[in-house]
């Protein structure tokens, strides 16, 4: 069976390699992709949208409908992760640590309550003391990562980047917090309700901008029609609409990445994990 699979993989790879021979060369000016459409984009994008980064303009404006459904796909990924993995049943075994002495207590009956107040803290089963160097470095590093993520979102019109990358970087800064401290630190600050609302809000901002353009009398996602709503000169209105769309994508992606991470690492219980 293994040999059979190996033969199939080799055959498919060989066919794909054979198929690439028909593809145009890299950077070939006569290839179909760079004869009709690319010329139009290169000549007209800056005067039509005032956005210097052509990739962002194509993704968020000319192909805005595609990007909207990409955002919806990311949202659906988070939703599927939540529906498959989330587990609301309470946990039977609980561990508590006496803070001054470090003694661990193991409770097998979920009904048992601890009478003592702040001297005990809830602990994970495979708890390891977090390293001071890692904690300190991450605490200093996380705000800079987040500022960089916001920069990537806001500067996506002028330089490489945009909502998707910025959202992923922001989400990974939150994941770094969960890894360097523990999962409870993250879940306490960034609650599940907050994440769910933000994941839906990002898609809503995107679709809402499109519908707003429709209500103003244009086509769906025709940002030029938003000119009376936004405080800007009409020349830059498309760049501003793209920025709004990128912010929506960034919010949705950030929330979905954190939702997926929390659900995977805690088996859907949101209590303990990596």
């Amino acid at each position: 069976m293994k040999f059979f699979g190996f033969v199939i993989v080799c055959l498919t790879g060989g066919l794909l390699l054979y198929g690439t021979m028909d593809l145009p060369d890299w950077g070939d000016p006569g290839s179909p992709a760079s004869t009709h459409l690319s010329d139009y984009y290169i000549e007209h994008i800056v005067e039509e949208t005032q956005v210097p980064n052509l990739v962002t303009a194509v993704l968020a404006d000319y192909r805005g409908y595609d990007t909207m459904f990409e955002t919806a796909v990311v949202f659906c990924a988070g939703l599927a992760c939540f529906l498959l993995l989330r587990d609301f049943r309470p946990k039977k075994d609980r561990y508590f640590r006496h803070v001054p002495t470090g003694v661990m207590l193991h409770f097998k009956n979920p009904q048992t309550r601890l009478i003592a107040g702040n001297e005990f803290e809830h602990m994970d089963k495979d708890w390891v003391p977090s390293d001071m160097i890692i904690k300190t470095v991450c605490r200093i590093l996380i705000p800079f990562i987040q500022i960089y993520a916001l920069y990537v979102v806001a500067h996506g019109d002028f330089s490489p980047g945009g909502g998707f990358q910025g959202g992923v970087i922001f989400g990974s800064s939150l994941i770094l917090m969960a890894i360097s401290y523990n999962l409870k630190t993250l879940v306490k600050r960034v609650t599940e309700k907050f994440l769910s609302v933000f994941a839906a809000l990002g898609v809503l901002i995107y679709v809402g901008l499109g519908v707003a353009a429709m209500l103003m009398g244009g086509h769906f996602l025709d940002y030029g029609m938003l000119a009376p709503l936004l405080p800007s000169d009409p020349g830059h209105i498309r760049a501003l609409g793209m920025l709004g769309v990128e912010i929506g994508v960034g919010i949705a992606v950030m929330a979905v990445m954190v939702i997926i991470y929390i659900n995977i690492v805690s088996e859907g219980r949101h209590d303990e994990g990596l």
Binding site: W26, N53, V55, T56, V152, P160, G161, G162, F164, Q165, V168, I169, G171, S172, I175, I179, M257, I260, Y261, I264, V265, E267, G273, L274
Partner: protein, 81 residues
Amino acid sequence: MLWPIDLIVLTFVIFCAIAAITVRDLLGTAILFSAYSFLMCLLWAVMGAVDVAFTEASVGAGVSTVFLVAAVFRTSRRTKD
């Protein structure tokens, strides 16, 4: 002058891809996959597709590695086959 860099990185990409499917330690596979993504990011950057390189670096080498490590943490570190 760019093409030797291209070829060297491509060789490393192929090494990483083969190693990622042959290594039996799944945590090592996750790290090798991260290295693969990062080298692909270098390739995209050499070819001038900076936006794609950015996405590959943040998603492929960053977040997906964390997801794989989290999945390994919750399942097993050894493959069956």
